[in-house]
């Protein structure tokens, strides 16, 4: 079981908290302390809105252990409105086929269990198609 590692990542997993570079204003996810754009120190927290669109996606049929109860599942690169790409599963697709450009929003879902069936449940971000009003 890897409790400390997952505990350290709570803000990212539940709140999509990254950083904004105070020098060049680039938004950064995940947080990394050195701005990838300008190379200067970037430690100012920034909370992303959770809105974005599908940049690419694929369906996984042969999953790693810990994920094979939920195959097939769809993994995507989501382009957040604020700029960065993030890797995440798509969820709540229903009968809809994912498409590049599809607007999505962040939700919190179970990612997997840590270890066997008695292990801690690990939650985090997934993205679902933005809900449209009916009619």
């Amino acid at each position: 079981m890897e409790i400390p590692r997952h505990w350290r990542l709570k803000k990212q997993r539940y709140g999509l908290v990254g950083e904004v570079c105070p020098h060049c204003e680039v938004k950064i996810f995940p947080p990394r302390d050195i701005c990838p754009a300008c190379g200067k120190e970037a430690k100012t927290a920034f909370t992303f809105s959770g809105n974005g669109e599908v940049f690419s996606f694929t369906t996984v049929y042969e999953a790693p252990s810990g994920f094979n109860e939920t195959t097939p599942y769809t993994v995507a690169l989501v382009k957040l409105d604020e700029g960065p790409l993030v890797t995440a599963q798509l969820t709540d697709l229903g009968e809809t086929s994912p498409e590049i450009g599809m607007p999505v929003e962040m939700v919190t879902r179970r990612l997997r269990s840590d270890g066997d069936e008695r292990g801690m449940l690990i939650y985090g971000y997934k993205f679902r198609p933005v809900l449209q009003a009916a009619g």
Binding site: F57, T58, E62, P64, L85, T87
Partner: protein, 386 residues
Amino acid sequence: MTDIIIAGIGQTPVGEHWDISLRSLALQAIQAAIQDSGGLKPQALYVGNMLSAAISRQGHLGALLADYAGLTGIEAESVEVGGASGGAALRLGFMAIASGMVDVALVVGVEKFTDVIGPDLEAALATQTDADFEAIHGLTLSAQAALLARRYIFENQVPIDGLAGFAMTAHFNGAGNANAMYRKVIALEAYQKAEQVSDPLNIYDIAPNADGAAALVLIRRELLPQGLPHPMVRVAASAVASDTLTLAERSDLLSFSAVQSSTDAALQKADLTREQIDLFEYYDAFSIFAALSLEAAGYAKRGMGWKFANEGSISLTGQIPCATMGGLKARGNPGGATGVYQAVEASLQLRGQAGKNQISGAQHALIQCLGGPASVSITHVLKTMA
């Protein structure tokens, strides 16, 4: 700087070697290479391996294999750079001799993927991705490549079977390599009907993970013994570049910038243009990696790598023969051993010993292996010794 010569080469067939252990597999390749070198005695052993700790619960391969090969006491280290571990081991041997610190170096790449199967193997492979921001979402190495492929197809209007040229070329060449895992030519129809693994990639877009070991004996030119029966090959250049580990953090998703940097640097150090290269052993773990490598290495225009392959430009008689002994797709992908297989195969070409697959008059070979989706690119240029 002295010339670094490949005095001996050895390889096992690539396949599912249920009955051969990791140490025995490595020993077969080591003994073959030492014998091929006329019995040279190495002072140092450099091992390339990706996942022995996760798969076989075995780390510390330097000490294990030096001792098992009867070389107890010599310098012994193992290096891990994902799929480029074999290229990294070659680089360590090259640098050791170039620096003057070692005279004879033994380089061995070995991988035993089949010690675990199915989901446990996928989980071990996923340690090559970002654990906190990729693997935790169920991303596999195939899914990672599929994300690239789907975006590539979208941006370049690639037809549904557009990536077929890579598998077809690889299998055609694999048929002429006795050590290859797959030795049957495949037709376009087979590619078109193939089962999806991680859409849009099908089983022919993904090189098979399998077991294998390959080895080289490197020596400085001044110490090369007289009377070895085969032509000598030298390592003319070695260059490494890196990029983000995480695919999502790339500044330009469809550009393998580490391939571009390391290829440019290696060609410059070897004093060659890319047109003077006679064969390119690229890292075709996935068809999309081959397409992007051709583009980044400057052989195909951006977005046109798929077409370059379909037009026959990478065949044995094409503009730049690639995967000349089957590549990762048909010879197989033995993980950390792959980079050393590439050096062995390129050496066979430059020695004139490639049989049916011989590129006539081959003098300059470009070999390249990648860790992850070109998160690290390790490139070497081999030349016939003048």
